[in-house]
């Protein structure tokens, strides 16, 4: 059974584009961003719209390959392709873009993108053990603040920032409560629907409406939990490179073969939601602390990801792990070997891109994992 409220989330991304256009025509500024490292609270505290930018579809990749190497992660090619073809309405409406030096491919691509849009690229220290990293990241957030003032002419007050931090914390807590409903067996919401809800968060034009729909959805899911007793297939955690709306093929294959995608550890899942921003501290320092500690493979070493994954495996009663590596993503690819050793659950890595050409191969890997779980 599928919750009826999902209909709202089905059309959320498309409808938000229209709303943002209307707001923009009324004079509102729009700032786009790509990754969970972006301190969106800062953007919103300025009064601008913060909006996620499209990066997870195959369609614009051919255009991107005119400038970028073919042998590059599809996420990077897709982001750039959307930017140069005007096919992502959000990129089109954005007055500026906030980005960050995650992996090498992304940071070099942003150099090309800077010719198209005003950009502020925050410098993430690669080392997770560098003593001055928090100070450094805080300075970068201040730099972003100055950029927003200079480029968009918008001021950020400390009070406003605190208010946004609070709002986002509330939203994170709520979404984690939603995800936690999938601790039941069978899970009341499918992995692809859960992705849709979490992914939609970065595109929504109206926070209150979004929050109230999430609450409606949770109520419905409670009912579904109360009214189903049949135990369904293996409980799978998905991790690895981000999986966005438009390239859910691995999630779909898991579900088609009878598995339950319980949650994602990835950026498109709970990676950015598990930690809150400290509301009692200086807001810039608090933001720096939270965003610095995101367990992304771009930082080294990234043992927090192993700890988080193990914790989720336990809490959510996970039977097996599917680690998605986008082709040419070296950081997640290498880390897969370490992750496999670090977790104690049956594990398979799937290397893929955004095309549909390998769906059968993916199914073979997944059904083999299921059979390994069954024993």
């Amino acid at each position: 059974m599928r919750a009826k409220t999902m209909e709202y989330f089905d059309s959320l991304i498309a409808e938000s584009a229209v709303k943002i256009k209307e707001e923009k025509e009324k004079g509102k500024k729009v700032m786009g961003y790509y990754c969970v490292f972006s301190p969106v609270e800062l953007i919103e505290a300025s009064g601008a719209f913060s909006v996620g930018l499209c990066a997870t579809k195959q369609e614009p990749i051919a255009a991107a390959e005119k400038h970028l190497p073919r042998n590059l992660c599809p996420l990077i090619k897709s982001s750039y392709g959307f930017a140069i073809t005007d096919k992502c309405p959000y990129f089109f409406f954005a007055d500026a873009v906030m980005a960050e030096t995650t992996c090498d491919g992304k940071k070099k691509m942003y150099e090309l993108m800077a010719d198209i849009k005003p950009m502020v690229v925050l410098d993430i220290p690669n080392s997770s053990v560098y003593e001055k990293r928090k100070q450094h990241w805080m300075d970068e957030i201040y730099r972003a603040k100055d950029f927003i003032k200079g480029q968009l002419g918008l001021d950020i007050t400390e009070d406003k920032l605190k208010e946004k931090i609070k709002e986002h914390n509330e939203e994170r807590k709520l979404l984690m409560e939603l995800v936690a409903l999938n601790k039941s067996n069978p899970t009341p919401i499918s992995g692809s629907d859960l992705l849709k809800v979490l992914w939609g968060r970065q595109f929504k034009a109206d926070r209150e409406e979004y929050i109230s729909k999430v609450k409606d959805l949770m109520e419905e899911l409670q009912d579904i939990i109360a009214n189903t007793d049949k135990v369904k297939g293996p409980r799978i955690l998905v991790t690895g490179s981000p999986t966005g709306v438009g390239q859910e093929k691995v999630i779909n294959a898991i579900e088609e073969l009878g598995g339950q995608v319980v949650l994602q550890e990835a950026c498109s899942g709970v990676k950015g939601l598990v930690d809150l921003v400290d509301e009692d501290k200086n807001p810039y320092e608090a933001l720096a602390e939270k965003y610095m500690d995101i367990p992304c493979s771009c930082t080294s070493p990234n043992t927090r990801r192993f700890d988080l994954t193990n914790k989720l495996v336990e809490e959510y009663n996970i039977d097996g792990i599917v680690d998605i590596t986008l082709q040419a993503c070296h950081t997640y690819n290498i880390e897969s070997y370490q992750l496999k050793k670090a977790v104690n659950a049956p594990f398979t890595q799937i290397e893929t891109d955004y095309s549909q050409s390998d769906v059968e191969q993916i199914k073979l890997r997944i059904s083999s994992l299921f059979e390994l779980i069954e024993g």
Partner: protein
């Protein structure tokens, strides 16, 4: 009573009937339509062996085309089936290496033939049967000539990860006047090394079974032993391990 295992691969359909002790089998080319060819080979196999449908407990399918057959009771992945089939033919093996047309696989087995861990090649043709086919064609040769030519040759360095580029590399070597046998030996060596790294990923050591059509090459088998520190136990029927495994699992 029998259980039947049917493995519909991209090149051949393999069918095995297992009675708890012994087995009968057939191998036929897949052709254009795995689904109708599967049904046709199946009914012919039954009548040739005088097995009536009343004597069949269960039909278990595997392989890329297996899922599409409509007369089966169950589907199991090739990984599980090859693991079990190889174990039945030789219980002493610790792992299985399978070079298929589109996928190369390595599986680590426990003492009863269950798969403990597995890995497959990434989204690239290198190290697969397809890779060998393309490069052998570039030499203007046929697959069955490989061993005769590569035997006692000095493998040249061929290190492209990509089948398409490896083909170019082969053509360059021909232009430079390299010997066909040395080029072939180089190709086989590059496949052996790739197989070795797959096996290493799942910690396979010691005695392994080697299946898939390409495994029939003696030179490749020797190279896998030489370069990858594995001991290959020759199976009496390496092509049917998937179907046999499926039949045994169903029993």
């Amino acid at each position: 009573m029998y259980t039947v295992g049917i493995d519909v691969g991209s090149a051949a359909i393999k069918i095995v009937a297992f009675d708890g002790n012994d087995y009968k089998y057939t191998i036929e080319p897949t052709g254009w339509s795995p689904k109708s060819k599967g049904a046709e080979v199946y009914s012919r196999f039954l009548s040739d062996n005088k097995i009536s449908s009343g004597h069949i407990k269960k039909v278990v399918a595997t392989g890329y085309g297996g899922r599409r057959l409509d007369f089966i009771d169950e589907y199991k992945s090739e990984i599980t089936c090859h693991g079990r089939g190889c174990h039945v033919l030789d219980p002493s093996i610790k792992g299985v290496i399978d070079i298929g047309g589109q996928d190369s696989k390595a599986m680590l087995l426990n003492g009863s033939g269950k798969v403990l861990d597995f890995t497959l090649n990434d989204k690239c043709a290198a190290g697969t049967g397809r890779f060998l086919q393309v490069t052998v064609n570039a030499l203007g040769l046929d697959m069955d000539q490989i061993d005769a030519l590569a035997n006692n040759s000095k493998p040249l360095e061929i290190d492209n990860m990509c089948a398409v580029f490896a083909e170019t590399e082969v053509l360059n070597l021909i232009v430079q006047g390299a010997k066909q046998g040395d080029i072939l030996a180089g190709l086989l060596k590059s496949i052996a090394l790739r197989i070795g790294s797959l096996a290493g990923k799942v910690d396979i050591e010691g005695e392994v079974a080697f299946c898939g059509g390409v495994a029939q090459s003696k030179v490749l088998t020797q190279m896998v032993e030489q370069y990858c520190n594995l001991k290959i136990n020759k199976l009496e029927n390496p092509q049917i391990t998937g179907a046999l495994g499926a039949a045994v699992i169903g029993f």
